[in-house]
């Protein structure tokens, strides 16, 4: 195992010949992707908030800073991460880190209206597989100077570079929130209700479908405004909710949605990103034992006994499926990330080689 204490040591480690490394800080996402035969590269020394001034709506921190610490710091100033990083699905008891969330582009239920982790990731310092320290993006929210490198690193699962510092955009936290739960008749009608709500002017911030709980619509904002909008929304959808969750109960509900807690009992978990209108058809084709929908139907979580990747991927028409939970043997045999068309895959390979020509960072994880 290697544990560089600072960027200079990381540069030294990666510029000298040496083994391939598996990048780890919090370790909550090690179970995602193809298992790697690599030496551990412990990045937990890159810890701590570097700069946070609430008036700037940006925060700069070292990537191994625990997410909880970032969120508490923000909450104390009435702010938050807009993309609502979800509780780590695999290892909820461990501390996930800000950098880990960005490298996985992990976004929660509010993503459908507020954007993803990648959308709020505006700048970084990092060391690539060649051992070069470099920067991408900046510390200001509006920036089109050069290629948008934070987009490239977000969701790259540590295969291109090791982050040493990150800057994210933050937003004011909502004063109040309320969640309406409606009965689920069918997946199709549930998605329709979500689409109607998200397409309304009542600023619905999240829309999920949990077969056991209902169609959930969340409204956030000033307390008086939430009350008025709930009334307006109910008039438009012309349906009665079977229950309404407010404040802490609502927040708790969405934490569980983000963690796909309802599917915890399944040994295999898939996460599909699709056009919302396709959700019902896909579910019909897959016939999962259990599922939940988020992002108004655009995110499908599927709980299963076996990966059965062929069946899952055959049901897609566009979008992608990612294997989130499976045992080691299954992860060796199944491509966790959606296979790409030949020409896109060729570009992806060349991109990997541009950053990490000797394949020293998380080798094979996304392959």
């Amino acid at each position: 195992m290697a544990r560089p204490a600072n960027e200079a040591e990381l540069v030294e480690l990666l510029s000298a010949p040496g083994p391939a490394y598996e990048l780890v800080a919090g370790g909550t996402k090690r179970g995602i992707g193809r298992p790697m035969d690599a030496t551990l590269l412990d990045l937990s020394a890159f810890n701590g908030v570097v700069d946070y001034e609430p008036g700037e709506l940006v925060l700069t921190a070292r990537p191994a800073t625990p997410l909880n610490q970032v969120e508490s710091l923000l909450a104390a100033q009435g702010q938050r991460l807009a993309f609502e990083p979800p509780v780590a699905v695999l290892e909820a008891s461990k501390e996930q880190t800000l950098g880990g969330v960005l490298m996985a582009n992990a976004s929660g239920s509010r993503r459908v209206t507020a954007g993803s982790a990648r959308d709020h990731f505006i700048g970084f310092r990092a060391v690539n597989g060649r051992g070069e320290a470099f920067v991408g993006g900046g510390r200001v929210v509006k920036n089109v100077t050069g290629f948008d490198l934070p987009k490239v690193l977000a969701g790259s699962w540590g295969t291109l570079a090791a982050l040493t510092e990150v800057t994210v955009r933050v937003v004011p936290a909502a004063e109040s929130e309320s969640t309406l739960l409606f009965p689920v008749e069918s997946a199709a009608s549930a998605v329709e209700l979500c689409s109607q709500a998200l397409g309304s002017t009542f600023d619905v911030s999240s829309a999920a479908v949990l077969p056991a709980r209902g169609v959930a619509l969340r409204l956030e904002g000033l307390a008086a405004s939430v009350t008025t909008r709930v009334a307006g929304l109910l008039a438009v959808v012309a349906r009665r909710p079977h229950s309404q969750l407010t404040l802490a109960a609502s927040r708790q509900f969405w934490r569980q949605v983000g963690a796909a807690a309802a599917l915890e009992r399944f040994p295999v978990l898939w996460r599909l990103s699709v056009a919302p209108r396709q959700a019902a058809r896909i579910l019909e084709a897959i016939e999962p034992e259990d599922f939940q929908l988020d992002w108004g139907g655009g995110l499908i979580w599927i709980g299963a006994r076996e990966p059965d990747a062929a069946r899952i991927r055959a049901a897609l028409q566009g979008g992608h499926a990612t294997l989130i939970r499976a045992n080691v043997e299954q992860r060796r045999e199944t491509a966790a990330f959606e296979p790409q068309t030949a020409s896109v895959a060729a570009l992806a390979m060349r991109l990997k080689a541009a950053f990490d020509p000797r394949n020293r960072l998380n080798p094979g994880r996304m392959g």
Binding site: S116, V140, T145, L347, F355
Partner: protein, 502 residues
């Protein structure tokens, strides 16, 4: 004195010598009327909105289909010919300025909206559709496309993708990159790719996110899928005058700190206020040293409450005047002066240069002071308009191109402003792009390794470096004054000189 003349990429004499055969070949790939080589007709394509730089290309092609784009690009690949992609040519940074030996691929014929999907809240459009046409197409159902660059009636969605365009509402609604779900593009290798789709996020590397804002260096976008949003129930604006820029910028900081995210948060300084007021009579307070326009949108209940809160914050910061729009006509009037700021400045000065730096919000007041000092030092007037909410500055440098040396002084002044932005923790460009204009300043913001990393990405897509050469990345050898023609803005208007800019 900086910058030295920005030079255009040098043409390859061998390509120029083969012009006739190249044209003949292009005329077999496309309808001959879609291949433009006539010198007079080429003039329409010799520049974009950075009109000081002009260069006629070898030819302009106007393909109608993705297959035709791919055919042209494969031909160019085989022949080693360079390509300059072009949308409507509204770039303020010279992104679409041609190169003498290049084929300009004009995407104007890609002008159809292919599908509107209200259930999934997206629109699929060919890349030459204008930004505004998308909003217009979904207006009847009360939807719109959020990014609204000031050139939106003319600029194309493909150009927006290339530049990652913003607009006055991006503080709340984000830039192009936050609002594009998918695209079809043809690579320099002539391959047609689909990136993204109607779903959210990438399943592997985010090549879509990389392509957006790549300034035509990585390929030609032929089709774009954008997210559309329900139009907010209401929008109201506050017009707030201050006797000092510090008061205004403190007010901006406090609005943000109070947890309010306005749809638009604009600031103008004294010279900009007076120029705009004299031009459009929007009712701006002429004595004010700074003016804020704070627009709030959303559900009525929310907006009315926030208007009250912002009003209170403004009063605490010693606002000299504060008016809330009572109806939409009044809100539009508040904006009229701001939207006319560029032409208004054009009335008080024969020429102006529009800069586009981005800074941390806390630096607004000190940077304004420094710009005033630089104005003294360079002996040129400046009027400042800002997207204050996200720290994006548009200082307008006033000069007279007919006075020997003034353009050079204006460019040196502009260059100093952009360096100042970088010095205080900001960046060279917030929304206009690097293009030609800021290319030679890239080394001020980025170190050699940072640029090398970006250059390698360029190589991934375009190993022969044939796409939009001479843009974004500084070249090692600076040329002499070749390739640059000095143009008086009023004397030689570009095709888009009537376009609103703000």
């Amino acid at each position: 004195m900086l910058p030295p003349m920005i030079c255009l990429a040098q043409p390859d004499a061998a390509i120029l010598a083969r012009k006739a055969t190249i044209l003949a070949a292009l005329r077999t790939l496309l309808d001959p009327t879609d291949v433009i080589a006539d010198d007079l007709l080429l003039r329409a394509y010799e520049t974009d909105a950075l009109t000081a730089y002009r260069q006629r290309p070898l030819a302009v092609v106007l393909p109608h289909t993705t297959a035709q784009v791919a055919a042209v690009l494969r031909f160019a690949l085989t022949e080693g010919i360079r390509i300059v992609p072009r949308g409507a040519g509204t770039s303020l940074s010279g992104g679409a300025v041609p190169v003498a030996d290049a084929i300009v691929v004009g995407m104007g014929r890609f002008n159809r909206i292919l599908e509107i999907d209200y259930a999934d809240r997206c629109v699929v459009a060919q890349s030459g559709v204008t930004n505004f046409a998308i909003s217009e197409a979904v207006a009847a159902r009360n939807f719109y496309y959020a990014p609204d660059p000031s050139s939106q009636i003319a600029c194309t969605i493909g150009g927006n993708v290339a530049e990652n365009s913003g607009g006055v509402h991006c503080l709340k609604y984000g830039l192009t990159t936050h609002n594009v779900l998918g695209l079809e593009m043809v690579t320099p290798q002539g391959e047609t790719l689909r990136l993204g789709g109607r779903h959210l996020d990438a399943g592997h590397y985010d090549l879509l996110g990389l392509t957006i804002g790549s300034e035509g260096l990585l390929g030609i976008v032929t089709e774009v899928t954008v997210r559309i949003l329900p139009r907010p129930q209401t929008a109201r604006a506050l017009l707030i005058g201050f006797s000092s820029a510090t008061g205004a910028s403190d007010c901006v900081a406090d609005v943000i700190a109070a947890g309010i995210v306005p749809a638009g948060l604009e600031m103008m300084d004294g010279p900009a206020i007076r120029a705009a007021e004299e031009f459009v009579h929007a009712g701006y307070p002429l004595g004010a040293a700074a003016l804020l326009i704070v627009e709030l949108d959303g559900p009525v209940a929310e907006v009315d409450e926030l208007i009250t809160r912002v009003h209170a914050i403004a009063s605490r910061h010693g606002a000299s005047s504060c008016r809330a729009s009572a109806d939409d006509a009044e809100r539009q009037r508040f904006w009229a002066g701001r939207k006319a700021a560029f032409p208004a400045v054009g009335r008080i000065s024969p020429d102006y240069l529009c800069m586009d730096g981005s800074i941390p919000r806390r630096q607004l007041a000190p940077v304004l002071l420094s710009i005033a000092e630089l104005s003294q030092r360079h002996g040129l007037r400046v009027a400042n308009v800002f997207h204050a909410g996200d720290g994006n500055l548009h200082p307008l440098i006033l000069y007279d191109a007919n006075v020997a040396g003034e353009l050079e002084r204006a460019e040196a002044f502009g260059s100093d402003i952009l360096k100042l932005c970088v010095d205080v923790g900001g960046v060279l460009t917030g929304e206009h792009g690097v293009g030609l204009e800021k290319r030679d300043l890239m080394t001020y913001q980025f170190g050699p390794t940072d640029l090398e990393v970006q250059h390698r990405i360029k190589h991934v897509f375009d190993p022969q470096l044939r796409f939009n050469p001479g843009k974004v990345f500084p070249t090692l050898s600076r040329c002499s004054e070749q390739g640059r023609e000095h143009v008086h803005a009023n004397a030689a208007p570009s095709v888009h000189s009537a376009l609103p800019r703000f």
